[in-house]
């Protein structure tokens, strides 16, 4: 199989989770770099706020970023925003990982441009699915993917008429129970 190795940057403040995600990614044949904070991630990506943003080396090219949501300092959500607001980095798919199965949080992340939202603990099958998505969709997949992603999740969770992408209906406790993000 002559697939180029995809390089994933994983961000998590938990030592345990970093070790696990690194292993999961390696087993899934990704090249892995792991950092422990959003600011270190930005440093690695060359988006240092102190330096010029143009000091990225080409062989450090990152194909996907996976970040924990709840981190001290910069949250995964804040990291996501910074990446999507960067002209140099916005094309990189960003996946959020979180233990919270919150519909509002999931929607917020997807609306901000997240490629996917995975419930922790992350499984090998999640990565398999991600890999397929990343390989199929090229660099030009921003808005279309978002719409597809939300629709996909909506269909899977069997909620009838929830096609409204602007105003969310107030989430009933039942919605919160449905594992929407891991399908």
């Amino acid at each position: 199989m002559n697939q180029p190795e995809l390089h994933v940057l994983a961000v998590d403040d938990s030592t345990v989770d970093r070790k696990v995600i690194q292993k999961l990614l390696q087993i899934s044949s990704f090249k892995v770099t792991v950092v422990d904070s959003g600011s270190r991630a930005l440093q690695y990506l060359g988006l240092d706020e102190e330096k010029n943003s143009d000091c990225r080396f080409n062989d450090l090219k990152v194909n996907m970023i996976m970040t924990d949501y709840s981190m001290p300092g910069m949250t995964g959500f804040e990291l996501l925003k910074k990446i999507k607001n960067s002209s140099t980095l916005k094309e990189i798919p960003v996946v959020i990982m979180s233990s919270e199965n919150s519909m509002t949080r999931i929607d917020r992340c997807l609306e901000e441009g997240a490629e996917d939202y995975l419930l922790k603990p992350v499984k090998l099958s999640d990565l398999r699915r991600l890999k397929d998505t990343i390989l199929k969709t090229g660099p030009d997949h921003t808005d279309q993917t978002q719409t597809r992603k939300r629709k996909h999740k909506i269909d899977q969770s069997q909620e009838p008429d929830y096609h409204d992408q602007t105003l969310s209906p107030p989430s009933s406790p039942q919605h919160a129970q449905t594992k929407r993000a891991r399908l």
């Binding site: 938990s14 345990v16 070790k19 696990v20 292993k23 001290p72 603990p121 090998l124």
Partner: protein
Amino acid sequence: MAAVAQLQRQFIEYTTSLHNEGYLDDQFTQLQKLQDESNPDFVVEVVSLYFEDSEKLLNNLATALQQKIVDYKQVDSHVHQFKGSSSSIGAQRVATVCVHFRNFCEEKNLEGCVRCLQQLKQEYILVRSKLEALFRLEQQIVQAGGQIPMME
């Protein structure tokens, strides 16, 4: 030969009971599946990190709850971390206590929090000793020339 078979049976029985009693859940099995010849100590390494992390968190929690004015947000943040790492290795009972603990944090219920911390310590010590026993069994099997059975 017989020794290996007996050890392997013990291992299977012990693992099964740990799952049945809720000490470990499927996530632990998932971690075991990630282990291979290139990284035969993966599970032990992850669990060691968990032990280190947990002991720090338990100390931090004790300190936080002893403050004159308790910062419940800080306490909750520690518990959230503990819940996360416990879920990541499949330490189900510990994770469950964390859920209750967070509820007490939200209510700013000091007594509830203190009780939960005690429970948390107990459950942590329990799962730690069980995991250590499991790893010892694994070592014995390997030393006797056998293979560690794959649990489904």
